[in-house]
Every structure is written in structure tokens, then in C-alpha cells.
């Protein structure tokens, strides 16, 4: 038998439930109990389950990427929330040497990347800021630059994917998650909120949050959340986690719990205070200290768990296998249209494609510079 040091990776790795957070991992599946023998494990150990450790090793070596966009009027605490979420100065404001707060005349898209590491897990985090959103006098079409940016990232990925000589790993700059900040009015969504979320929820995962929630009492907060949920439903807006992408009953159960709680009412802070002998993140006011990570005070911890600790991989998967694929289908159908306006109507279309398989046909015309 092999000597001890080399057998460490033979230890069985079990998928463990997340004890650290409030939600369970999605796609829990139904792992069979150990010792349950189905066809295959008749006598003795083979080592198939060592593949889990191999995958883990590979993932640790490659590192992860995550791209998060924040959208909301200025002054809603977007930068602070990002810094609180990732416990470091990840926001654009913290990086810029010039702290001058100027509201831009048009919407700008500013993206900044960081390499962060935790317990051996490396991640390239990109925070995309959208200063100027909702700040103009006339906010019509304010979603357009944002929509364009998101689609541009899909386009860049697609172009890489159809290269003949491809990179080993296509760099993923696609926006995985868009946090939308709702101002804490306490009443209902504004037309700007509805318009933005309605359009963008079709191309990206939207996570709406109620910003600066320390201005709402618990009753006001609950009423506000309920109103928002109803308005989202009434307008057909599907925010993350989308009902139609639940994989199975277990998934639905986990995600239903989340859907009953969104939008999360959050408070951000990067200042630490002493409370009951402990150092905690919070906001100190004359009437008390708001503890950011205390779920009795605000729902920051739920947001953090959802985004980072339990559903981050799922968020990336939905972006890659659904939103990106939707974009790709639309884009490829467009390029087929260059050749003939109604490919399906033309009687010779099908015969023609005996030269090349029909599904590869769009490939010919795709690499043209787009207008």
C-alpha cells in the first residue's frame, strides 16, 4: 500500500451542509447515505469519489472570478455596502485618489478589479460602478448604457468562444450579479425602479436591496418589502433567484424562503465599534448603534450569505448557462438574417446546407464587424 503522506487525498469528501449561513447550498440533490450500495460498489473501495478532491484542487489552483455591478442613485451607500460585503476597500471611491464627489453629467460605467484570497481560495473580484444613474433631471433611457455594457461583455465572451485558436480559459467579464439600490421611501417603487428592473432582469441577475434601511422601522420595512414584492410580481419582474430556474423541489424550497425575504433591507458600514465587549461593524448614532451583522437590526447578513456563502456559484451558473445563452441565440439568429431575410421560408435553404451542417451556417457570417 502507499505510504501515509500520499493517501491524504483518498479521504472521502462529503458535501456538507453550510452551517455557517442561513441558507443551504442550492442544487442539494439527494446524496445517498454512505454505505448504500448500488450497482458498482459490490466489493471494496474503488476511489471514484476521490474526484471531488481532484475538482477541489483544480478549482483552488485556477481561482475564481466574480463580477458584481451596483446600480442606484448617488448617496445610497453603494460603495460602503461593497466594502462591507467584502471586508476591504473594493469600491471605486476607495481606490480613486481624488475623493471629490461630483455627479457626472451622463451615466458612466467604471469597473475595478481586485485579487482577494481567503483560506487558500483566490478570487478576482470586479466591482462595476454606475455613477450618474438616476441622478439626471431627465432619466429616460438611463438603463441603456448599462444594458449596453452588459451586452458588450456577453459579446466579448462570444467572440472569444468562436475563435479558431481559443484561450485555455476564456476570461469571464460577464456581469454575474447586479445589485439594485432602492431608496428607503417606505411607499413603493418609483417608475425608474420598475423600468430599470423590468428591462435588466431579462439579461442579468438582479438582486434588489433597500438601501440605508436604518431609516425605516420594522413595521415600515415589512410593509415596504411587501409592496415592492407585489409590484415586482405585478410588473412581471423576475429577480434572483428566478422561479423558473429552480432545478428541483429542494431547490424551490430553499429559494422560496429567499423569495419571501427579498428585497433585503441593508445597512453598510466600514467602521468598527465596541458593543458588549466585542468589536463589530456598525453605525453609531445618538440613539444607539446599529450593528450591521446583527439580523435583528438589518438584513445585511442574509444578503452576504446569499451572494457569497451559498449562492455565488449558482449566480455564476445562471449567468453562463441562461443569460449568456439567450444573448448568444439572439445574436446568432441575427447574423443568419444577413444572408436571407427568411431562412426558413426559402425553399432551397435546407438543400443548400448539405454543403455544411445547417447549425454551422451562422459561423460564416458571424465574424463580420458589426454595424
Amino acid at each position: 500500500m502507499l505510504s501515509p503522506p500520499t493517501t491524504c487525498y483518498l479521504l472521502l469528501l462529503q458535501a456538507h451542509r453550510s452551517q455557517r449561513g442561513f441558507f443551504e447550498f442550492p442544487n442539494h440533490g439527494s446524496p445517498q447515505a454512505k454505505g448504500d450500495k448500488t450497482n458498482g460498489s459490490d466489493f471494496g473501495y474503488v476511489g471514484i469519489d476521490a474526484i471531488l478532491e481532484q475538482m477541489r484542487r483544480k478549482a483552488m489552483k485556477q481561482g475564481f472570478e466574480f463580477n458584481i455591478m451596483v446600480v442606484g442613485q448617488s448617496g445610497l451607500g453603494k460603495s460602503t455596502l461593497m466594502n462591507t460585503l467584502f471586508k476591504s476597500k473594493v469600491s471605486r471611491k476607495s481606490v480613486q485618489p481624488n475623493p471629490e464627489e461630483r455627479i457626472p453629467k451622463t451615466i458612466e460605467i467604471k469597473s475595478i478589479s481586485h485579487d482577494i484570497e481567503e483560506k487558500g481560495v483566490r478570487m478576482k473580484l470586479t466591482v462595476i460602478d454606475t455613477p450618474g444613474f438616476g441622478d439626471q433631471i431627465n432619466n429616460e433611457n438611463c438603463w441603456q448604457p448599462i444594458m449596453k455594457f452588459i451586452n458588450d461583455q456577453y459579446e466579448a465572451y462570444l467572440q472569444e468562444e468562436i475563435n479558431i485558436d481559443r484561450k485555455k480559459r476564456i476570461p469571464d467579464s460577464r456581469v454575474h450579479c447586479c445589485i439594485y439600490f432602492i431608496p428607503p421611501t417606505g411607499h413603493c417603487l418609483r417608475p425608474l425602479d420598475v423600468e430599470f428592473m423590468r428591462r435588466l432582469s431579462k439579461v442579468v441577475n438582479i438582486v434588489p436591496v433597500i438601501a440605508k434601511a436604518d431609516t425605516l422601522t420594522l413595521e415600515e420595512r415589512d410593509y415596504f418589502k411587501q409592496t415592492i414584492r407585489e409590484e415586482l410580481r405585478a410588473n412581471g419582474i423576475d429577480v434572483y433567484p428566478q422561479k423558473e430556474f429552480d432545478e428541483d423541489a429542494e431547490d424551490r424550497m430553499i429559494n422560496d424562503k429567499i423569495r419571501e425575504m427579498i428585497p433585503f433591507a441593508v445597512v453598510g458600514s466600514d467602521q468598527e465599534y465596541q458593543v458588549n465587549g466585542k468589536r463589530i461593524l456598525g453605525r453609531k448614532t445618538k440613539w444607539g448603534t446599529i450593528e450591521v451583522e446583527n439580523i435583528a437590526h438589518c438584513e445585511f447578513a442574509y444578503l452576504r450569505d446569499l451572494l457569497i456563502r451559498t449562492h455565488m456559484q449558482n449566480i455564476k451558473d445562471i449567468t453562463g448557462s441562461i443569460h449568456y445563452e439567450t444573448y448568444r441565440v439572439r445574436r446568432l439568429n441575427e447574423s443568419n438574417g444577413h444572408f436571407t431575410p427568411h431562412p426558413s421560408d426559402h425553399p432551397l435553404w435546407r438543400n443548400l446546407c448539405n454543403c455544411y451542417p445547417m447549425q454551422m451556417f451562422w459561423f460564416f457570417f458571424f465574424k463580420l464587424p458589426t454595424k
Binding site: 445517498q32 458498482g40 460498489s41 474503488v46 469519489d49 474526484i51 471531488l52 479558431i164 480559459r169 445563452e325
Partner: protein
């Protein structure tokens, strides 16, 4: 390859990416767990191709490796051509579900003329790549549901002759080394003595090197497994013995082959390299085998196939030219083809119309002639009838004449008789 290298270096020092330290526990260290969890739910796919002569022990080895009895058919030695038989099984160990496909060659090495023996194998491997490529290029595709049938590992079974590789082995492996991860094994290794085995292994490896055959090297880039992989690379090719029968040794039942002169224990590393093979193939490098297949062998196939069809990547320098040319050329091709087909169809249509016209004309003519014929018959009959009528009329008139004459005669004779009588009386 070169671009791959600089990419790795570039990734390490990305422009505008700064390393940041965290002031507390964020929680994304659970990402590998999240990823593993998703994979557990999806299940894994692994495809092994076994190439070897009939009866060399391919099926037995698979049974032994996976601790199960796959349905095995004993093949005949009289196959006219090499064939491949693929069988898929769903295995499970603790919470890991594996969809294993075992592909065996049938009749390999049995033919008189083995020149084309490698071809069915190459074709099979290419077919799986093609199938994946087709899926990847579809407009509406579902890659995460796709059952990946690409061959991840190829176990090449070398006959335990003790001398050297056969030319069939060299030719086949040379054809396959750029398409699949080759792991050569010496089959039925219990027929070779230890000293012979050592010399045999050296001979095989040197022959592979001198013929430029690239076999799969266990990866050395991860420190966790680099050491054991290096050791194992030195033990290639693995000398294996397969057995699903158990023999009692000491106070345990072990997988073994029982001979009158002793018992060869499959899992005893002094007896054979079976344990090493299982380690390397399954426990340590299964994921790497899958990754190499996808990122190296499949990419090579894809690139060659697309280049063959005339596609080129744009060179950032001279962007529009080659693309435009390719586009125009292809477009012309298609238009010409389109026109040709259209003409063909038009001609065919005209032809058909002509034929139909002729048919109709023919039918019309026939109808006309029949009509004429009937008319003639009718006329004939009429003539006949007319004739008959005329005769009848004639008859009638002659009869009436005769009757009139007869009457006159009778009348005359009556008056003549009367006069005579009168004359007599006077």
C-alpha cells in the same frame, strides 16, 4: 501553445488588478464547496477506451478496476474488421454518481492484414469530438445537459511477449497520441518474471520515445500530487493482472489468480502494478484526464476541423482583408450553388410540364380517334339501315304495283267475263 504560456503569466499580473487583504471573514472560501456540490448533483462522466488483442484481458481488468461485473461478451477471433463496442454504466460510490462508458475494441490484431486496424479507433474518437463540436456550434444548445462521450483515457494493452512492442502497437499509438490520453499497460503481467519485466518496460519506453509517441504524462504542476505523479511516471507502463475471483490468503479473501505454484494477488504491489493503475487513473488524475481531453485534444480537433472548412481568425493587424475575402468567396459559392439549384429545379419543372402536355395531347388524340371510329360505325350502320329501307321501299312499291296490276287484271277479267255472259244470253 506559446500564447497559452504568456496567458498564464499575464493572468498573474493583470493590469489594474491589485491584491487586497481582507479585514475579516467574508465567506467565499466556501466557493470550492459550492462548486463540488453542484458537480455532485450533476454527476460525472468518464469514458475509457481499451485497445488490445482479443483475449488479452481488457474486460477482466475493467471489472477488477471498478469492482463490478460489466456484461461481457467473449469475442471471436474471426472478425473481418476491427469494431468498437461501447457500453455505458451508472456507478455510485458514497454520494458520487459516475456515468462510465467502457469502449472495447473487438477483433483488434486478429486480421491477416492489420494495416487499417487503427482506422476504426481513430474514427470512433473523431466521431465523439465531432458530436461535441456540433452541439457546441448549435444555436440553441444545452452543453450542461450534454452526455460527454469523448474518450478521456485510452488504455493500450501490450502483449506480455517480454521482448518489445509490436509494429501494430507502434503504428496505432502513433495515430492516437494527438487525439487521446494514452496510458500503456502490460497485460497478463503474471507471465513475466520480475527481471524480464524491468527490461521489458525500459525497452517499451525507449521504443515509444524513439518513435515519437506521446503518451499521457501524469501532471506535475500541482505540488500536492507532483511527487507521487513523478514516481508513477517512472513506473510506466503499468504491468497489470486482472481478476474478479477471490482466493483466501492468510485469513483474508483477496482478488487473485490461483496457480499450482502460487497465488498472484492483484492488489499486492509486489506482484503487479494494478494498485498503481487504479491510483493514477481514478483516484488522482481522473479530473486531469478529462481536462486534457477537453482543453488539448478536443481543441486540436476543433481547430483542425474549422481550418479545414476554411475559417480563419482575424489578425489584429490586417483585420478586414482575409475575413472579407473568405466571406466573399463563401458567399459567391453559396450564390452560385443557389442559382444552380434554382436552374435545375426550373428545368425539371419545364420538363415535367412538357411531359404532362404530351400526355394530355396523347389522351386527346386517342379520344378523337375513338370518336371518329364510333362515328364511322354509326355512319356504316346508318347506311346499312338506309339500304334496307330502300330495299323495303322497293319491295313495297313493287308489291303495290303488282297488287294494282293484279287488281286491274282481276277487274278486267271480271268485266270480260260479264260481257261474255251477256253475249251468250242474247
Amino acid at each position: 501553445h506559446k500564447s497559452c504560456m504568456s496567458e498564464e503569466r499575464r493572468q498573474g499580473q493583470d493590469k489594474g488588478v491589485r491584491p487586497l487583504s481582507l479585514a475579516g471573514h467574508v465567506g467565499f472560501d466556501s466557493l470550492p464547496d459550492q462548486l463540488v456540490n453542484k458537480s455532485i448533483c450533476q454527476g460525472f462522466c468518464f469514458n475509457i477506451l481499451c485497445i488490445g488483442e482479443t483475449g488479452i484481458g481488457k474486460s477482466t481488468l475493467m471489472d477488477t478496476l471498478f469492482n463490478t461485473n460489466f456484461e461481457n461478451f467473449e469475442s471471436s477471433h474471426f472478425e473481418p474488421q476491427v469494431k468498437l463496442r461501447a457500453q455505458t454504466y451508472d456507478l455510485q460510490e458514497s454520494n458520487v454518481r459516475l456515468r462510465l462508458t467502457v469502449v472495447n475494441t473487438v477483433g483488434f490484431g486478429d486480421q491477416m492484414n492489420k494495416q487499417e486496424s487503427y482506422q476504426p479507433v481513430v474514427d470512433y474518437i473523431d466521431r465523439q469530438f465531432e458530436s461535441y463540436l456540433q452541439e457546441e456550434l448549435k444555436i440553441k444548445r444545452s452543453l450542461h445537459n450534454y452526455h460527454d462521450s469523448r474518450v478521456h483515457a485510452c488504455l493500450y494493452f501490450i502483449s506480455p511477449s517480454g521482448h518489445s512492442l509490436k509494429s501494430l502497437d507502434l503504428v496505432t499509438m502513433k495515430k492516437l497520441d494527438s487525439k487521446v490520453n494514452i496510458i500503456p499497460v502490460i497485460a497478463k503481467a503474471d507471465t513475466i518474471s520480475k527481471s524480464e519485466l524491468h527490461k521489458f518496460k525500459i525497452k517499451i519506453m525507449s521504443e515509444l520515445v524513439s518513435n515519437g509517441v506521446q503518451i499521457y504524462q501524469f501532471p506535475l504542476d500541482d505540488e500536492t500530487v507532483a511527487k507521487v505523479n513523478t514516481t508513477m511516471n517512472g513506473h510506466l507502463p503499468f504491468a497489470v493482472v486482472g481478476s474478479t475471483e477471490e482466493v483466501s490468503v492468510g485469513n483474508k479473501m483477496v482478488k487473485a489468480r490461483q496457480y499450482p505454484w502460487g497465488v498472484v494477488q492483484v492488489e499486492n504491489e509486489n506482484h503487479c502494478d494494478f494498485v498503481k493503475l487504479r491510483e493514477m487513473l481514478i483516484c488522482v488524475n481522473m479530473e486531469d484526464l478529462r481536462e486534457q481531453t477537453h482543453t488539448r485534444h478536443y481543441e486540436l480537433y476543433r481547430r483542425c476541423k474549422l481550418e479545414e472548412m476554411g475559417f480563419k481568425d482575424t489578425d489584429p493587424e490586417c483585420k478586414p482583408v482575409s475575413l472579407q475575402q473568405t466571406y466573399e468567396a463563401k458567399r459567391q459559392e453559396f450564390l452560385v450553388e443557389l442559382q444552380k439549384r434554382e436552374d435545375e429545379m426550373r428545368q425539371m419543372f419545364v420538363q415535367r410540364v412538357k411531359e404532362k402536355e404530351a400526355e394530355l395531347k396523347e389522351a386527346e388524340r386517342e379520344l378523337q380517334s375513338r370518336f371518329e371510329h364510333l362515328k364511322r360505325i354509326h355512319a356504316d350502320e346508318k347506311a346499312t339501315l338506309e339500304e334496307k329501307k330502300r330495299l323495303l321501299d322497293e319491295d313495297q312499291s313493287s308489291f303495290s304495283k303488282r297488287r294494282a296490276a293484279a287488281q286491274l287484271l282481276q277487274a278486267q277479267s271480271l268485266t270480260a267475263n260479264g260481257k261474255k255472259d251477256k253475249d251468250r244470253k242474247k
